[in-house]
């Protein structure tokens, strides 16, 4: 019975509960909606931490599996939800204030979908879970009905999301036609040792394309900057961190060690993924250089990070896969706090232009220091965790003998300093603007940023725990990929 209280189910129940409270509760109670949602998300995070390694209900075992990877990434998504809920409670809605309940409730549904994705062992499960995520996110992106940019972002995400789903479902159809199954382990068993048929390769290509949209790999990245800029900031954070991570978990599962971890497919797709990685790192980094809006900057920086992860993934070796897992955790540690900061900046100034950072270090030394550490971690400077994972990417590429990719990754890591340093430069080195807003950052932000900075530093100085987590997540789990008993 307790199996049914798995995080996925509870996320949905919590989301429905918040909506019902919003609709039915008297006004006095509705004021407590924000703390309620935040409390629920924190409780669910704790629950996910406790339960993510437990098996799922037996009747789901055809579609879902509990293994090291899903156990590690369900808490990841739950953590994203906490941050997003925290940001949503403080997000400035302006004339749309009446609908805050929905902004708080809706993220619970895609979180459930992401947790399902992390466990998927069958392409059908992937498709259904992905739709659960996407549809909630279309709504959330276009949440600001009064703001044209938000509506535009919603339409763009809808069209591009639809397109990527199209690729994915087409790929699944071809796969079924070619192999007669959509289940990962069966596919592996039946195709092992055989040369890949053209139909199977086409299926893998289409599925890779569908997922490339999700992880914002060049050339399927074009939606990201506009959507990130237009969407409400909490939702941008969700897209940039949780949604992207889910894409990588799927890539790990499908191309890394699951469905398509076949010699015959790897031979064809290894150079493809590496090329995608090179293009993504290069374009993400270079396009980030001229950005003056923090959300767009983060969008391109996210594209560049996706590129590094694709490079590690593209080697298709054990070390590369572990690197992706560690990289994702380093990415969330550095990126989420920056989004939380951007959300607060928008609350005070109404937009996210970088000039609001001018001279910030003199007014608010605490948040500035924390933000600096997070940005430097993203830039990959030692002794922060971002450096350790970038080092792992470089080492992986060296061992795989991918010299061109290695050189490009190095050069782009230097170029990236150009845009990661510019917010730091603005904070510490520019003059303060003449009109300083009356509103100040709240104390919670100071703590969040300082703690995040300290975490980046501590893990950077002592990266073993993260390495061990990544290693363990890929170790075979007793319940993983056993063929279900009929």
């Amino acid at each position: 019975m307790i199996l049914w209280f798995c995080p996925e189910v509870l996320f949905v129940i919590a989301g429905v509960g918040i909506i019902l409270t919003d609709c039915l509760a008297p006004d006095t109670l509705r004021r407590l909606l924000s703390p309620l949602a935040l409390g629920l998300s924190v409780i669910l995070l704790v629950w996910t931490l406790l339960r993510s390694g437990q098996p799922m209900p037996a009747s789901w075992s055809n579609l879902l599996v509990t293994d090291g990877l899903s156990a590690l990434f369900k808490p990841f998504f739950a953590l994203c939800l906490v941050a997003v809920t925290l940001m949503s409670t403080r997000y400035r809605l302006g004339s749309d204030e009446t609908v805050r309940g929905e902004l708080l409730a809706l993220p619970f549904f895609p979180t459930a979908g992401l947790c399902l994705l992390a466990s998927a062992r069958d392409f059908l499960a992937i498709f259904v879970a992905l739709e659960l995520v996407s549809i909630s996110l279309y709504l959330l992106t276009a949440f600001h009905r009064a703001k044209p940019a938000s509506l535009e972002a919603g339409i763009k995400l809808l069209v591009m999301g639809g397109l990527s789903t199209g690729f994915l479902i087409m790929g699944i159809a071809w796969l079924y036609a070619a192999a007669g199954t959509t289940e990962f382990s069966r596919l592996l068993l039946e195709q092992a040792g055989k040369p890949a048929s053209p139909a199977l390769l086409a299926a893998a290509g289409l599925i890779l394309t569908g997922l490339a949209f999700k992880v914002t790999a060049v050339p399927f990245h074009a939606w990201a900057p506009d959507v990130y800029e237009g969407a409400p900031t909490p939702i941008t954070a969700f897209l940039a961190v949780a949604s992207k991570a889910a894409g990588f978990v799927l890539l790990l599962r499908i191309f890394g060690f699951g469905a398509f971890a076949l010699e015959s497919i790897g031979q064809v797709f290894r150079p493809v993924i590496l090329t995608l990685g090179i293009a993504t790192v290069t374009l993400g980094t270079l396009a980030a250089l001229p950005q003056r809006d923090l959300k767009r900057l983060l969008a391109y920086s996210g594209i560049a990070h996706a590129g590094y992860m694709l490079l590690a993934l593209g080697t298709l070796g054990e070390a590369g896969l572990g690197t992706v897992v560690a990289y994702l955790w380093a990415y969330i540690l550095a990126t989420l706090p920056v989004f939380i900061f951007v959300n607060e900046l928008e609350r005070i100034h109404g937009n996210t232009d970088m000039r609001h950072l001018d001279g910030l270090a003199r007014r608010d030394p605490g948040p500035s220091l924390g933000l600096t550490l997070c940005l430097l971690s993203m830039a990959g400077l030692p002794p922060l965790i971002g450096f350790s994972v970038k080092l792992a990417v470089l080492t992986t590429l060296w061992n795989a003998g991918e010299t061109p990719a290695l050189v490009i990754a190095l050069v782009m890591a230097v170029a990236a300093l150009g845009f990661y340093l510019s917010p730091i430069k603005a904070m510490y080195w520019e003059r303060e603007a003449d009109s300083i807003p009356a509103k100040r950052f709240s104390i919670y932000l100071v703590w969040v940023l300082l703690l995040a900075g300290a975490a980046n530093l501590a893990l950077g100085l002592y990266p073993q725990p993260l390495v061990r987590l990544a290693e363990r997540s890929l170790a075979p789990h007793p319940t993983s990929f056993s063929i279900p008993q009929k």
């Binding site: 003199r362 030692p382 450096f387 060296w398 190095l410 730091i424 510490y428």
Partner: protein, 491 residues
């Protein structure tokens, strides 16, 4: 019973860190910075005692963990080679804190950044684990960026960006070299501990081609950090724009990280590769000495002149590094330390001149000797040290390098000797322009042209003492370093 001094190694790093925290929390910035720099001499002294007696001190050397995927270990160590560089860092840091001008804007952040630069250098010299060795050097990168950007002069923004991106690029090439080195060792023997790695590679050397690749990556990586021609263009402008204590720390101490890395890693671990690329190093260092020597003749700004002259001396150190003889390596180490003191001194004097007269353009200066005899004295010490007057530290190093390199590279020694001439011409012309002749307007109008009182003089006196100490008794450096260097040249 002998005292276990290993605990003082982390103390050397914690004390400046503590100072930075205290300053951030509101303790008076300059006083605290000087205090922690003085305090840091105590663990330095205690550790030195043990090094002199037993050769090395290690901290954190416990049981090695079972094979880890990412086997970093916080391991600190000091031996006869790093001893002199640690002392260079301690003394120059102290002098830099003392020479920092009073009443600078945003004092707190200023001194925190300076302490972090010193901390990065100390950490790099003390680290035994390659991960921390590399990381500590990078710690200094961002504070330097801010120091030049916020408190610099001239084209500070351009200089800060150029220097930071250039150094980052150099660091990443170096990182690539480190990856290449560690990954070419068979997996069972792989380690990030350079002591273990050196022993492993001494017993089972890498193939000559691998050594060449690694040595070439080290040459470009470390060479960029040391501003070897043609990777030097960040340095003169960066030093010219940097605020005085930052230039002192960077030119005096941090730049030695690259040379130290070559002595520590490239020479012992890839000896064949280093020999293989020796001729390239030769061309590059000739560029440093001769080409930059000529360029330095054209400088009109005293700060730029010092920047070029500082870069120029690196060529002579490299000559010592490729000499392959004990004498040459000893000379390189002596010149590294001597140049550290003399460059710090020269930038400190230039800073004082600039601050007191409002300019460092040599044509606008003149007659400083009359109006500011004390400053003139220290200017002369710095200049004489820089051009290699016997009795001062640089001479000891240079003469050893010339003798040590003669049998292997006679042509380069001739080039380097001409470099000494060029350097002397440039520096003495500068002294004539600044110190002698009719008293110029800017010197005339300076309200307080000279150093006054012990509080202003002691940083200069401190550096002078050490310049003479190393120059007259170079055995203070060579004695402890001798066993380490002997193993470098041993077949």
């Amino acid at each position: 019973m002998e005292m276990n001094t290993s605990i003082f190694l982390p103390a050397l790093l914690l004390i400046p860190l503590l100072g930075a925290v205290l300053i951030a929390l509101g303790s008076p910035a300059k006083k605290t910075a000087i205090l922690v720099s003085v305090l840091n001499l105590i663990p330095g002294l205690l550790v030195s005692g043990t090094v002199l007696r037993s050769g090395e001190v290690l901290f954190g050397a416990g049981t090695t963990p079972v094979r880890e995927v990412f086997p970093v270990k916080f391991l600190l160590g000091i031996d006869g080679l790093s001893l002199s560089l640690v002392w260079l860092t301690l003394i120059v840091t102290l002098a830099a804190m003392g020479a920092a001008q009073n009443g600078v804007k945003r004092e707190k952040e200023y001194f925190v950044c300076l302490l972090m630069v010193g901390l990065g250098a100390l950490g790099a010299f003390l680290s035994v684990d390659l991960f921390y060795f590399f990381s500590f050097h990078e710690v200094a990168l961002i504070p330097t960026f801010l120091l030049i950007g916020i408190w610099g002069h001239g084209d500070r923004s351009g200089a800060a960006w150029r220097m930071t991106l250039y150094l980052m690029l150099g660091s990443l090439v170096l990182l690539l070299g480190l990856i290449a080195l560690v990954m070419s060792v068979p997996e069972v023997a792989r380690s990030l501990d350079w002591r273990v790695l050196t022993e492993t590679l001494r017993a089972n050397p890498l193939t000559s081609s691998v050594q060449t690749v690694v040595a070439a990556l080290f040459l470009v990586g470390f060479g960029t950090l040391v501003s070897l021609v043609p990777f030097h263009s960040w340095a003169p402008g960066g030093y010219a724009s940097a605020p005085t204590p930052a230039a002192m720390l960077h030119a005096g101490v941090l730049k030695k990280f690259g040379l130290y890395g070559l002595l520590r890693l490239a020479l012992p671990m890839t000896p064949l590769g280093w020999k293989e690329i020796g001729w390239i190093v030769g061309i590059m260092l000739a560029g440093n000495i001769f080409y930059l020597g000529l360029v330095s003749l054209q400088q009109r700004d005293f700060r730029w002149l010092l920047g070029f002259s500082s870069v120029m001396h690196m060529g002579t150190v490299f000559l010592g590094l490729i000499s392959g003889s004990l004498l040459g390596l000893g000379g390189a180490l002596t010149l590294m330390v001597g140049h550290g003191f003399s460059a710090a001194m020269a930038f400190a004097v230039a800073g004082e001149v600039g601050q007191r007269t409002g300019t460092t353009w040599m044509q606008d200066l003149g007659g400083l000797a009359k109006r500011a005899p004390k400053l003139w004295f220290y200017l002369m010490v710095a200049v004489m040290a820089s051009i290699g007057l016997p009795g001062l530290a640089n001479f000891a190093g240079e003469i050893m390098i010339f003798f040590g390199a003669w049998s292997a590279h006679p042509v380069l020694v001739v080039v380097a000797a001409w470099g000494v001439v060029l350097s002397a011409v440039a520096m003495l012309r500068a002294v004539r322009a600044i110190a002698f002749g009719p008293v110029s307007k800017s010197v005339e109008n300076a309200e307080a042209p000279d150093l006054v009182g012990a509080a202003q003089i002691w940083p200069f006196a401190l550096l002078t003492v050490f310049l003479f100490l190393v120059g007259l008794v170079p055995v203070v450096i060579l004695g402890p370093a001798r066993p380490v260097l002997e193993r470098l040249v041993a077949p």
